[in-house]
């Protein structure tokens, strides 16, 4: 469980970073953000933006009104990582349009979370499972 304002702050920082990626077309900056996504997805407690929130901002704010589970945060970070990784490859391998489109998806997701508190796992996870999860009968090997 975590203070929901932490991930919200992290999403705001991510939004700014993704805007910078798009304006500069920098593959290295996209790579840095991809690393942040990967680390936060694997170990939410070690996420650098969350650490900034907890050390600099949280002590100055009151206690959170409610706590949130960490699993939705990790899901959103994993989705962000996929887009940032594709953006990195696009920029570094000479396809800036691919880079810009992938970076824009990460930007849109981070912005929706920061500005509207949108939960990416709520929007995408079930749709993803519906499309990939096979009905039980299909898992029985056809002999």
């Amino acid at each position: 469980m975590t203070d929901p304002r932490g991930p919200r702050f992290a999403a705001a920082v991510t939004t700014v970073v993704m805007v910078a990626v798009l304006l500069t077309g920098s593959g290295l900056l996209a790579l840095a953000q991809a690393a942040v996504f990967a680390l936060t997805a694997a170990q939410p407690r070690l996420g650098p933006y969350g650490l900034i929130y907890r050390t600099l901002l949280a002590p100055r704010l009151g206690k959170p009104a409610e706590l949130e589970p960490l699993a939705p945060v990790r899901f959103a970070q994993a989705v962000g990582f996929v887009f940032a990784a594709v953006a990195t490859l696009g920029y570094l391998l000479g396809s800036p349009l691919t880079g810009a489109i992938a970076a824009s998806f990460a930007l849109a997701a981070a912005f929706l979370n920061a500005a509207f508190g949108l939960c990416l796992g709520c929007e995408l996870f079930l749709a993803y499972r519906r499309l990939t999860g096979r009905p039980l009968a299909a898992r029985v090997p056809v002999s």
Partner: protein, 150 residues
């Protein structure tokens, strides 16, 4: 300055803002399902919807931040309103029902009337008032929800 990035990113921000505004307006709102649209489904009984009760059938998933708040609201309404039950289903483990009932996001709450017909559905966390307003017309007049003193 990367002009491509500026254009693509600008379009993404505009689209995201539009989506966010629509989403904020719709979240938690209970849409009434027209009487003829959905006949009583055998899937509902299979999910544990008790016969003869107005049921708040909640679909949740592991990666869903507002599912907990939705559970608290629905459980509280069920506890304080005679004739109302709350059933929570892990959507991922019941993909068959999820497909049959056309559920795409979590949390989704279906309002099932005492005859087992889906009378309404809400996507996103509803407020207590929204849930109460949705169940009230489905209850017999004697069992109107009792307002708790805050």
């Amino acid at each position: 300055m990367d002009t491509t990035g500026l254009l693509v990113g600008g379009v993404a921000l505009l689209a995201a803002t539009a989506y966010g505004l629509v989403h904020r307006r719709r979240t938690g709102r209970v849409r009434a399902v027209p009487a003829s649209a959905e006949p009583a489904s055998p899937v509902l009984a299979d999910l544990g919807v008790p016969p003869g009760e107005v049921t708040l059938l909640q679909f949740s998933s592991a990666f869903c931040a507002p599912c907990r708040a939705t559970r608290v609201v629905c459980a509280e309404v069920a506890r304080n309103t005679p004739g109302v039950a709350h059933v929570e289903v892990d959507a991922e483990s019941r993909l068959d029902a999820v497909r049959a009932l056309d559920i795409w996001k979590t949390p989704t709450v279906l309002i099932v009337d005492a005859q087992g017909r889906i009378a309404g559905r809400a996507q996103g966390a509803p407020t207590r008032a929204q849930v109460l307003a949705a169940v009230a017309p489905l209850l017999p007049a004697a069992a109107e929800p009792t307002e708790e003193k805050a």
